[in-house]
C-alpha cells in the first residue's frame, strides 16, 4: 500500500504535486521525526537497562494508583482517558520537531524554487500556480502532521512497553491499571485530530510565512519576523498599543481555550468565530502568495 502511495503511474497531478513536496522536504517531513523517534526509543531502552531509580519499593503502589485514579475520576477524567493522554504525552518531542518542520517548510516553500531556477521547470508543466501553492499549503497543514502519525504510534508503543516493564518490576497490576485502560481508537484520534486543528488555528502564521517566501528576495526567515516587528514597533510608537499583537495573542488564547476539553479540539474549535476569522486571513494571505508566484519567475 505504501508503494502505491509513493509511486506515480499515469496522469494524477494532485498526487504528483504532493509527492514532489514530500521528496523536496524529505528531511523535515520524514527524516526529522524518524531521528527523534529513534533517539527517544534508544533513550528509553537505555534508561530501563541502566536505570534503577524508577524502582519504588517502599510503598503500596497498587493502592496509590487506585487512589490516584479515583481522584481523577472525581474531576471528570476516566482511567482510560488518563492513560491514553499519558501515552500521547510521550510524543511531545515529535511535535516540537514538527513545529520547526512547519516553520521552515513554509518559509522555503516558494523561495527555494526561485533561488535555484527550478520554478521555470515547474512552470513548464501544465499545473496552475493556484494548484501549486494550495498543495504546498496543504502539505504543511496536513502532510507534516499525518507523516508524524506512524512515528507517534511507534513512540507510544515503546513508551507503553517501558511503562509495563517498570510497572512489572515494581509489582504494579499492569493489566488492571495500564494495559486495559489503553483506548487505541482514542489514541489514534489524539495523534491525528488535535495536531491538524492546531495547525489550522496557526494557519494565518503559516500562510504569512508562505507569502513572504513568495515575494522576498532576502532570506524569508528574517523578513517573516522583521516585518511584523516593524509594524508592532510603529503601532506602539504612534498608537500606544498594537492591533497586530492583540490579534496574535487572541489567536493563541483562542487556540489554548480549545485544548483538552475532551473534544480533542475539533468540535469546540469549529464553534469559535476566531477560528473562522483565522481561516479567512489564511485565504487572503494565500491569494497573495499565488499572485506573487504567478508574477515572479525568478528571485
Amino acid at each position: 500500500m505504501l508503494a502505491s502511495l509513493t509511486k506515480i503511474n499515469g496522469y494524477n497531478p494532485i498526487k504528483a504535486l504532493f509527492l514532489k513536496e514530500v521528496w523536496d522536504h524529505r528531511r523535515a517531513i520524514i527524516i526529522t521525526p524518524a531521528v527523534i523517534t529513534g533517539l527517544f526509543v534508544l533513550f528509553m531502552i537505555a534508561a530501563v537497562v541502566t536505570g534503577t531509580e524508577v524502582e519504588i519499593n517502599d510503598i503500596n503502589i497498587n493502592a496509590q494508583m487506585e487512589e490516584g485514579f479515583a481522584e481523577a475520576e472525581e474531576e471528570g477524567y476516566t482511567p482510560s482517558g488518563i492513560v491514553t493522554r499519558i501515552l500521547a504525552g510521550s510524543t511531545a518531542l515529535l511535535w516540537i520537531g514538527a513545529m520547526f518542520a512547519v516553520t521552515f517548510t513554509a518559509l522555503s516553500s516558494l523561495n527555494d524554487e526561485r533561488k535555484d531556477g527550478s520554478i521555470l521547470f515547474w512552470k513548464s508543466m501544465p499545473v496552475s500556480d493556484t494548484q501549486e501553492v494550495l498543495v504546498k499549503l496543504a502539505t504543511v497543514l496536513f502532510v507534516i502532521p499525518l507523516a508524524i502519525f506512524p512515528f507517534a504510534l511507534i513512540t507510544e508503543f515503546f513508551f507503553a512497553i517501558i511503562i509495563t516493564i517498570v510497572g512489572l518490576v515494581n509489582g504494579v497490576d499492569v493489566w488492571e491499571f495500564f494495559i486495559s485502560n489503553i483506548n487505541v481508537p482514542l489514541l489514534i484520534i489524539i495523534n491525528i485530530v488535535p495536531p491538524i486543528i492546531m495547525l489550522l488555528w496557526l494557519s494565518p502564521i503559516i500562510a504569512w510565512f508562505m507569502l513572504v517566501s513568495s515575494f522576498s528576495t532576502r532570506p524569508p526567515f528574517l523578513v517573516a519576523f522583521a516585518v511584523p516587528a516593524l509594524i508592532i514597533a510603529t503601532e506602539e510608537i504612534f498608537f500606544n498599543g498594537s492591533l497586530l499583537v492583540a490579534a496574535i495573542v487572541s489567536l493563541f488564547e483562542n487556540w489554548a481555550d480549545n485544548i483538552g476539553e475532551g473534544t480533542f479540539f475539533a468540535t469546540s474549535s469549529f464553534a469559535e468565530p476566531a477560528f473562522w476569522v483565522g481561516l479567512v486571513v489564511t485565504a487572503a494571505l494565500t491569494s497573495g502568495a499565488i499572485y506573487f508566484r504567478r508574477r515572479h519567475a525568478l528571485a
Binding site: 506515480i8 504528483a16 509527492l19 521528496w23 531556477g117 527550478s118 521547470f121 513548464s124 508543466m125
Partner: protein
C-alpha cells in the same frame, strides 16, 4: 497553414523602459524559427510572454490561449527548455520521470526511458550529481517524450561542449520534429542552428528588425568575393555592405541576381551571423 503563435502590437514595459515595442509576428505549424538578437534585445521577454511567464500589453494568442491567464492549459501543448529553467537539483532522475508522468497528460514514460537508455544517465542519481550535459540530455528526453505542438528553446545548449550541442540538435530533428510541430529557438550560437531553421527573426531594442523564411533569406542575400579586376564594377552594383578582411574585399547584396554577380567573382550564401551583423550594424 495553422497559426500557432500570433502577436499583435505586443508591448512589455518595465517602468519607462520598453522591452518589447509593438511586436507583431505570426508563427505557424511546421516552422523552426530562430529568434536572434543581442543581449537585452527583448528575446527572453518575448519568449516569457509566449510562455505565460509575464504579463503584456497588446494581443497574444498561443495555440488559441491567452498565455498569461491560461498558462496551465497552454502547457499541455507547449514545452520549453531554457538555460535558466533548470531541473531541481534535489530530485532523482526516477522521480522527475514520475512527476512529469503525473502532471502531464501527453507524457509517454516509455518513450523517455527509450531516449535515456541511449545515454549514461543513472536513474537513481540526483540531478545535482549529473554533469551539465547530462542534465540537458535528461531535460531533452523529458520534453521529447511529451506530445506537444510547440517547443520553445531559450539558449538550450549554453555551457555545453560542442559534442553535446551537436547531439542535442541532431536528436531534436531526427526524433522530435515533424510538420505538426513548431520550434522556436533563441541562441547566441547562430551558426550551429542556421541549417535547421525554416524562418528567422532578428530583434533589436524590442523591435522586430527582420522576419523572413530561410529560403527567402538565402535567395535574396548573397556574398560576392570579386576578382581584383572586378572590385569597382561590383561596387557599382550598390552592395548593401562592403567587408574587408585580410586585404580582400567582399560585398553583400540584397536582391541582386546571382547570374549577374557570378560575372564578377565567387558568389556564396550569406551566413546568418553575417546577415545579423550586416542588418544590426548597417544603419
Amino acid at each position: 497553414m495553422t497559426n500557432y503563435i500570433s502577436a499583435q502590437n505586443l508591448t512589455k514595459s518595465y517602468g519607462d523602459f520598453k522591452a518589447l515595442k509593438d511586436v507583431s509576428i505570426s508563427i505557424e505549424k511546421g516552422q523552426i524559427v530562430g529568434l536572434i538578437g543581442a543581449n537585452g534585445a527583448g528575446k527572453t521577454t518575448m519568449i516569457n510572454a509566449i510562455l505565460g511567464l509575464t504579463s503584456f500589453e497588446g494581443e497574444l494568442s498561443v495555440m488559441g490561449y491567452d498565455p498569461y491567464t491560461e498558462r496551465n492549459k497552454l502547457m499541455k501543448d507547449v514545452c520549453f527548455i531554457s538555460d535558466v529553467a533548470t531541473l531541481p537539483k534535489w530530485i532523482k532522475v526516477s522521480q522527475v520521470l514520475q512527476f512529469v508522468e503525473g502532471v502531464h497528460p501527453k507524457f509517454n514514460r516509455e518513450k523517455a526511458l527509450g531516449f535515456l537508455s541511449g545515454t549514461s544517465i543513472p536513474m537513481d542519481k540526483k540531478v545535482a550529481q549529473l554533469s551539465k550535459g547530462m542534465v540537458v540530455q535528461l531535460h531533452l528526453a523529458l520534453i521529447m517524450a511529451i506530445d506537444a505542438k510547440i517547443l520553445v528553446l531559450d539558449e538550450p545548449t549554453l555551457g555545453l561542449d560542442i559534442l553535446y550541442r551537436k547531439t542535442f540538435y541532431d536528436q531534436l530533428l531526427e526524433d522530435y520534429f515533424d510538420e505538426e510541430r513548431t520550434i522556436l529557438i533563441t541562441t547566441h550560437q547562430v551558426d550551429e542552428i542556421e541549417n535547421i531553421l525554416t524562418d528567422v527573426i532578428f530583434i533589436r531594442e524590442g523591435e522586430i528588425m527582420y522576419n523572413a523564411s530561410m529560403d527567402d533569406t538565402l535567395a535574396t542575400w548573397k556574398v560576392l568575393d570579386p576578382s581584383p579586376e572586378h572590385v569597382e564594377a561590383a561596387r557599382s552594383l550598390n552592395p548593401y555592405r562592403e567587408m574587408k578582411s585580410l586585404g580582400r574585399v567582399s560585398f553583400i547584396y540584397n536582391n541582386q541576381d546571382r547570374d549577374t554577380l557570378k560575372e564578377f567573382g565567387d558568389v556564396k550564401r550569406l551566413s546568418l551571423s553575417d546577415l545579423f551583423v550586416t542588418l544590426m550594424s548597417g544603419e
